[in-house]
């Protein structure tokens, strides 16, 4: 899923400026699962805004609304009936959702309330960890199902660097060395011969370095 962090309340207030009619827009997908932008978080941010503005004695209107997704036009269209009543749409979706809402409501100011951070997994309730960088050319078959692009701090392709110590990365002692994990996994699964294969220099053009990406499946188009 896409994981993010809520922006500081102070930063959100600064971005809102003098606008007081706010539509706080949540998303029921990834940001709900990672506890940053679903219905509950929309409720918390809205309550914060109401408490703050009440304290300041201001007149305001905060509406809470959560869409099934903010990355599909059909759902974004559901707020068309009332979006115009607000000065600003405060989107709690990932960066994709914020942009798609802004695209759909060109005359509206759409602000992000979330910093989108990574593609990851739930380690346990309340803990998430990065697993994928969307490089566009998956090599997990070669690395025992552990991604050195996303999980090695240097994205090394052929074994660990000198900073690997006791199975941990030199950036901090809580971060596992991805290559230690890979070697352990290859050993466990009897695939150590894969470690002998040298991975060639990666062609990063399939990733972000190749520019914005687009996918088309003609058979699915209407």
């Amino acid at each position: 899923m896409i994981v993010g962090n809520r922006k500081d309340f102070k930063e959100i207030l600064e971005k809102l400026g003098s606008r007081r009619r706010v539509l706080v827009l949540g998303c029921n997908e990834c940001v709900t699962v990672c506890g940053v932008g679903g219905e509950r978080e929309v409720g918390v941010l809205s309550a914060e805004l109401r408490l703050y503005w009440k304290k300041e004695g201001e007149t305001f209107e905060v509406r809470e609304h959560t869409l099934e997704r903010q990355c599909d036009y059909e759902y974004i269209d559901q707020i068309r009936g009332f979006a115009d009543e607000y000065d600003v749409i405060l989107s709690m979706a990932c960066g994709a959702g914020v942009q798609y809402v802004a695209e759909a409501y060109k005359t509206k100011l759409v602000l992000p309330a979330v910093n989108t951070t990574f593609l990851g997994v739930t380690i346990e309730q309340g803990v998430w960890s990065e697993r994928c960088q969307g490089c566009g050319n998956c090599i997990l078959d070669m690395t025992g199902g552990i991604c050195p692009i996303a999980r090695c701090s240097k994205s090394l392709l052929n074994g660990p660097c000198g900073g690997s110590s006791g199975g941990k990365c030199e950036i901090d002692n809580e971060t596992d060395c991805a290559w230690q994990l890979i070697v352990d996994r290859l050993k466990e699964s009897g695939q150590m011969e894969r470690y002998e294969e040298i991975l060639p220099v990666k062609d990063w053009r399939t990733g972000r370095e190749g520019g914005p990406r687009k996918r088309v499946r003609e058979d699915l188009r209407l």
Binding site: A47, L51, K55
Partner: protein, 116 residues
């Protein structure tokens, strides 16, 4: 025991403090209360194992939110006591009342016009 505690304390009964949600506390502040405290069982003695420990973490989280909005984290607190410690319940009610009284009314209420 017929113990008395300040009459300004309004008790909201819950089956376990594990039911206490961040939004529940925020709604209370939105409705105009000056402070909220959660009275849970002793740590390690939760019938549902971790309800009171979860409540404490949520209370800590709300403290941060209240600091952010300028109400002050001191307006919310977690207390632990067993069902047989009525004395302690009354004592915490007095302590919290005194603390809130020293903090003054919630700044959220200062602009609310009260009916005569």
């Amino acid at each position: 025991m017929r113990l008395s505690y300040p009459s300004n304390v309004k008790v909201v009964k819950l089956p376990c403090t594990g039911r206490v949600d961040v939004l529940l506390i925020l709604r209370a502040f939105e409705s105009g209360v000056d402070g909220v405290y959660v009275a849970g069982c002793m740590e390690g003695e939760c019938h549902f194992l971790r309800g009171n420990l979860r409540a404490r973490r949520r209370v800590e989280y709300v403290k941060g939110l209240l600091e952010e909005v300028g109400l002050g984290g001191g307006r919310v607190e977690m207390f632990n006591m067993s069902a047989s410690q009525g004395q302690l319940f009354a004592q915490f009610a007095r302590e919290m009342t005194e603390r809130i009284r020293s903090l003054g009314p919630s700044p959220v209420n200062k602009n609310v016009k009260r009916e005569a």
